[in-house]
Amino acid sequence: MFAYYLDLALRSLKRNKALTALMVLAIALGIGASMTTLTVLHVLSGDPLPGRSGTLYYPQIDPRDNSGLFPGKEPPEQLTLTDGQNLLRAGRADHQALMTGGSVPIQPDSSSLDPFYVEARYTTADFFPMFGTPFLYGQGWAAADDEARVRDVVINSELNQRLFAGADSVGRTLRVANTAFRIVGVLDNWEPSPHFYDLNTGSYGYTEQVFLPLQTALGLHMDHNGSSDCWGNGAGGIGGTYPSEECVWLQFWVRLDSPAQVAAYREFLVRYSQQQKSLGRFVKAPNVRLRDVRQWLAYERVVPNDVRLQTGLAFGFLLVCLVNTVGLMLAKFLRRASELGIRRALGASKRALFTQLLVESGVVGLVGGAGGLLLALLGLWLVRHRPSDYAPLAHLDPTMLLVTFLLAVGASLLAGLLPAWRACQITPALQLKSN
């Protein structure tokens, strides 16, 4: 029966090519626009570390004075160096890492390569096991090395390719900012997106090429990269290179595996704030937050508003296209009232007619969906050629492919429902008589 309906549908669609083309085009345009924007939204709001992000937490405390400069009750988004080191040394979580961004000159030994700048991360040892960074060669440095200020460095595969043509470079020397470092590890491709652990350096499309022990980097006065928020008079810190003690400029991440641990850590942050207040360092009452990765990204509003607006607009457009298709399909079905009347008179049930018409709208949906998919691919290609920092990420993944397909067929079946129902309401006798 289905094959017969399909045959009828194709015949009917062929009979009025312009109308069919218009319906298919409307669905394709609507689907194409909404899938392009939805894919971008999906990619941008993705989980940066699937499987791990649920156990990673970002502690915030409030070391500021009582100035009215910062309205609202939210504590600052980063930590001071003192607080960061205190929390790190307290070691209340399974893993914890204190870090900040930087940019350093790499001075290759070979005279064929000029010195160049790369993005760097100054961090403590737990960064690698906590975030589960994949290593191509070697591994990170040990926690004990942090305090010893060892001159160890982890580089990423891109830099390894550039300097050592991809060979195992563990144990070799790398000159960073006029200082010799020993390479202890080479990361495999690792680009969490969004760049959740430090959003100040850009949320998307930002990768560090070298990772240096925090204390070592600070001791060598390497350049800081990122945001620093100060209160008081903001006088310079360590040697004038870094923000002062009245500035927050470091990020601190902890790994907490169970809700009990999370509660205990939150309690610890409150106690720490109280203790610092009694020492006279903090002025405000304890004001702490402990967000996991998802909550942190939502709080920081990582996904650009424009992307959300575009998605909303595209769905508005899809709705217009669908209403348009409903109208055209209705016109098409009603025009065939006499044909349907004859089929009814010959014994076809209303249900059979309804199914037949739905098959026809399903065909329109399938073809429109395929067209929409092509348009979405074209749209994403256009997005990739835009200058936004998230542009290279705009690719269709299998999930979105399936969503596109379902959306197209679902939408056009939905668009076919009303016209099919309306067309089945005809009185067979009247149709036969008038012709």
């Binding site: 008079n233 508003n305 607006l309 209403v323």
Partner: protein, 406 residues
């Protein structure tokens, strides 16, 4: 013309009529909001920026020894000044629209930083010749003199030790509304304050850190003697020369600091980069509007054609009873007008609702009321254009159709 028969006919075709109304309402709502967003963004791209945008290029030098800056900066400036065609040069810490900010909160008195919600302001530092190199326009007061540049050193803090400042007109109005800013004290931090000696025409800040559109023009300018933070060189020339000046400048600075990383661009490129996202958003919004209007128009053509096909007999009878072609044309045009009117009424309410929602969730501004009737008129015109074809075909139905059976 009597419109009662039209209503009677529409009542018999409630579903198609309702669909046209709904489609027009949705299109009107989306159109109003999209055009409003386009207007906002185009406005943003054209905010005034009182510097010589066409004539300046900027070159940044990174990776030199900060301790040698006091000697390096004057040497570099002298080298750049020698390039033929260069009219002015200066070293600055940040460049408008460069997306790399240097911001401070500025107050009008000591201790006020702690009390009030003070504006966040872009803090420009420049060496002698800064106003000339940027092409700043002085509205009141004066620029800095040589002694003020020489006096101002950078201590351990990020604030220069000088005592004078220039502010933009917008910042002056924000800090001292209705008063003259000249001679007033601008406080940055608890210990540093600067006497305002001049007010300049509005200049954009490097990023959008200020509160909304107004804050885009909040900037303060402080003089500074050569220091390592002044690592960007502004070189001004005739717009026709700037490409060559940029190439020569980069080459000279690279030769002077072989280990440094030297990067340069024209200000036009800086501006293009800053607004690239905005431009592509405008393009996308415009494309959606055009395609949506086209889809709507074709939808109207399709449905009206169907109606005309269905009513061939009635049209024939009317023609046989003496209706002219014009009457038939006008009938369909009036019908379309009434449907569109219902659609745009609904659409304007919907557009307003969407705008209110966006205002609450996306910090969008209120849509001016004239967008609503403008959108309505656009859709009315669209409807009338779309109906011409089918109405013509209806008018072409010969009276003899009435006599045929079927």
């Amino acid at each position: 013309m009597d419109i009662r028969p039209i209503f009677a006919a529409l009542r018999k075709h409630r579903i198609p009529a309702g669909l046209i109304v709904l489609e027009i309402a949705l299109a009107c709502a989306v159109l109003c909001n999209a055009v409003f967003m386009i207007g906002q963004r185009i406005g943003e791209m054209h905010v005034p920026n009182a510097i010589d945008e066409a004539g300046i290029v900027d070159i940044t030098v990174q990776g030199t020894d900060p301790k040698l800056a006091a000697a390096d900066v004057p040497r570099n400036l002298a080298a750049l000044r020698e390039i033929p065609g260069v009219t002015a040069v200066a070293a600055v810490n940040i460049v408008p629209l460069s997306q790399s900010g240097w911001n401070s909160n500025v107050a009008t008195g000591p201790g006020e930083l702690l009390k009030k919600n003070t504006p966040n302001v872009a803090q420009y530092l420049f060496s002698r010749g800064g106003p000339e190199a940027l092409g700043m326009r002085l509205l009141r007061g004066r620029f800095f003199d040589d002694a003020e540049y020489a006096d101002s050193q950078l201590g351990v803090s990020y604030l220069p030790g000088g005592h004078v400042a220039l502010v933009t007109q917008s910042l002056a109005e924000r800090l001292w509304p209705g008063q003259s800013a000249l001679g007033k004290q601008a406080w940055i931090g608890d210990d540093n304050h600067y006497t305002v000696v001049g007010v300049v025409a509005d200049i954009l800040r490097p990023d959008r850190n200020g509160e909304g559109a107004a804050g885009f023009h909040w900037a303060i300018f402080l003089p500074l003697s050569p220091a390592s933070v002044l690592n960007t060189y502004i070189v001004r020339s005739n717009p026709g020369d700037r490409g060559r000046v940029l190439r020569d400048g980069i080459r000279k600075l690279e030769a002077l600091s072989p280990n440094a990383v030297v990067k340069g661009q024209t200000f036009t490129e800086v501006r293009d980069k800053f607004f690239a996202d905005t431009r592509s958003m405008v393009g996308m919004l415009a494309l959606v509007c055009v395609v949506m209007l086209a889809v709507t128009a074709f939808g109207i053509v399709g449905l009206t054609s169907f109606w005309v096909g269905q009513r061939r007999r009635q049209i024939g009878i009317r023609r046989a009873l003496g209706a002219t072609r014009g009457h038939i044309m006008r009938y369909f045009q009036t019908e379309n007008f009434l449907l569109t009117a219902a659609g745009v009424l609904l659409g304007m309410a919907l557009a307003f609702g969407i705008n209110v929602y966006l205002m609450q969730h996306y910090e969008l501004q209120r849509m001016p009321m004239y967008y609503l009737p403008a959108g309505a008129i656009a859709l009315w015109l669209l409807g009338q254009l779309a109906v011409i074809g089918p109405a013509r075909r209806a008018a072409a139905v010969p009276p003899v159709v009435a006599t045929r059976s079927g």
